[in-house]
């Protein structure tokens, strides 16, 4: 008799479980698809929907780069090449080359962490595909520029101040070792 009850039980289980499964999928017909129809059927550019901490393609704000080479040392793949020398005439540090090979970069963020001013930072840009490999080496220095010297007080130059502000806001996102910074809940976004 138990064989018959097992037989009937199998049929009953099959029918009820498949019924439930079909009800679940039927309920999905009435739900909004989760797909984001990138890139054209979106209300805003997708780069503007990404969070501030998004680790996209690297960018360097040369106006506030101090030439300290902390990012070059921190990079585990050696994709950053910086050439900075002391200019004999003006006795200032002169940046003559700042190349980042974004083909090698693994978007880990280890370079933007030690930057003192936040000049090297990740953007929300991720569309870097191109036909030539050379275009993937981003050369940020066109003509040799002077490295930035951070001032003791607030920055007074009206052109550099907003850039420095943005850089420091970017750096504020990172955790400070030892906790000199108050926790994030008390800070504005």
């Amino acid at each position: 008799m138990s064989a018959v009850s097992e037989y009937v039980g199998n049929i009953k289980e099959a029918v009820t479980s498949i019924f439930e499964g079909m009800a679940v999928t039927a309920s999905h017909f009435m739900r909004k698809p989760y797909t984001v129809q990138y890139p054209d059927r979106m209300p805003v550019r997708v780069q503007d929907t990404l969070p501030f901490r998004y680790r996209g393609i690297l960018e360097v704000d040369l106006e506030i780069c101090t030439g300290c080479l902390a990012c070059e040392r921190a990079c585990p793949i050696d994709c950053i090449v910086i050439v900075v020398d002391k200019d004999p005439l003006t006795r200032q540090m002169l940046l003559s080359q700042f190349d980042i090979d974004i083909a090698k970069c693994m978007y880990c963020g280890l370079c933007s962490e030690p930057c003192p001013t936040g000049s090297i930072h990740h953007t929300t840009e991720f569309e870097g595909a191109d036909y030539s490999l050379e275009s993937l080496i981003r050369r940020f220095v066109k003509d040799p520029v002077m490295a930035y010297k951070p001032k003791k007080g607030p920055e007074t130059d009206p052109q550099i101040a907003p850039i420095l502000n943005r850089g420091m806001t970017y750096l504020d996102q990172w955790a400070q070792p030892g906790g000199e910074k108050p926790p994030a809940e008390e800070e504005p976004a």
């Binding site: 498949i18 439930e20 989760y34 901490r53 998004y54 680790r55 585990p76 070792p177 030892g178 800070e187």
Partner: protein, 372 residues
């Protein structure tokens, strides 16, 4: 009448296959549908990550640990962080440990979602996979706000974590957990208790507890055999002792103890347990720093250390030998998937070819973790 001449087929379930989880190869000797043996062939994804550690140094190795197991990147990050902290005697701040646990448990849910979804797809049901991936995408959105990346997180550092929780993130995470718990039940109604699915999974690839221990299985594979062993409870680390959660084990309800259905259900239940841990962690998280002060050129004292943690695939072991310089002398990772490959050859005798796919999926084998 003379006996009919029959031959065994040797098939190649090659490195490019829709359902070997990653780049794996099996040489299958089959007699029609029934297999005699499935010999695994690993190594297609070997990238010498352990050797790379000796070149890039302690801080620089953290992004490479993401690639050891890319669906469980938080756990590998945590493992490397814990190993270096043990070498140098660094203590992670309390809030940092909480952040680590929160990130790790979210990653565990994401990893298990991928595992159960891919398993359903290998069995033939295409919908549960997309639902699982949709949930995983929501977790990825949360983690993207937290650390900026969706797969290779590089979230943790030696001494804590790199970013604190952004403002408003806790509420979003709790809202996600409120959304996730009913979805898990809906997922179960769709596929887990489906009769066809249970018939496909029950009694396939039965592993006895003795076999599981002998073959070094860990994680959900081990717990499905009825052995209650979870590093978070038995060798506690981080702040796991502060949370109340259960460790689900298999019970042989649908077939023999230790079959594929047990492994599958253990993963489903672990997701619910992780959700519990997350709620407690998000409520109890204390204020404070999240990162300890660690020197930029980190030189731990010479010596060796070994740590174990419970990753998505089970007991993950990190063994680091330091020689006092800024570059480790030797790093070794012991992962759960490597052991699981060993048992496939033994279990495959007598299974059908369709069951081999079920077996691989139920052991939750991830190819990069096998080969590193």
């Amino acid at each position: 009448m003379s006996t009919l001449h029959t031959e065994e087929m040797t098939l190649n379930m090659g490195p490019q296959h829709p359902s070997t989880h990653g780049v794996l190869r099996f040489v299958v000797r089959a007699d029609g549908e029934v297999m005699r043996e499935a010999i695994p062939d690993v190594g297609y994804l070997h990238r010498s990550i352990e050797k790379i550690a000796e070149k890039v140094g302690y801080h620089g190795f953290m992004p490479y640990t993401d690639r050891v197991d890319y669906v469980c990147a938080m756990f590998t990050n945590q493992g490397w962080g814990m190993a270096c902290e043990k070498l140098a005697g660094i203590e992670v701040p309390h809030r940092g440990e909480y952040c680590r646990v929160i990130a790790a448990e979210f990653n565990r849910i994401a990893s298990h979602l991928l595992s159960v979804g891919a398993m359903a797809m290998d069995i033939g049901a295409v919908t549960p996979f997309t639902h699982a991936i949709r949930e995983r995408e929501m977790i990825n959105d949360l983690i993207e706000e937290l650390c900026g990346a969706r797969l290779t997180f590089n979230y943790m550092r030696i001494g804590g974590v790199a970013w604190d929780l952004p403002p408003g993130w806790r509420e979003k995470a709790l809202a996600y957990l409120d959304h996730f718990d009913p979805i898990l039940e809906e997922y179960n109604a769709l596929i887990s208790w489906n009769k066809i699915y249970i018939e496909r999974l029950a009694n396939v690839g039965v592993i006895t507890p003795a076999e599981a221990i002998n073959y070094n299985l860990v994680g959900p594979n081990l717990r499905a055999c009825g052995i209650k062993w979870d590093i978070r409870k038995d060798m506690p680390y981080s702040v796991y002792p502060e949370f109340e959660f259960d460790v689900p084990i298999g019970d042989g309800h649908w077939g023999k103890l230790g079959d594929s259905m047990d492994r599958y259900v253990v993963r489903i239940r672990e997701m619910a347990e992780s959700s519990k841990i997350l709620r407690q962690a998000l409520q109890k998280i204390p204020p404070g720093p999240v990162l300890a002060k660690v020197a930029r050129n980190f030189k731990p004292p010479a010596g060796e250390c070994q740590i174990r943690l419970e990753s998505g695939r089970g007991d993950m072991g990190w063994y680091v030998v330091s020689d006092g310089t800024g570059y480790p002398w030797r790093v070794h990772v012991r992962t759960g998937s490597f052991a699981a490959m060993g048992i496939i050859q033994k279990l495959s005798a007598g299974l059908m070819i369709a069951d081999l796919v079920t077996l691989i999926a139920s052991l939750d084998v991830i190819a990069p973790e096998i080969d590193r």
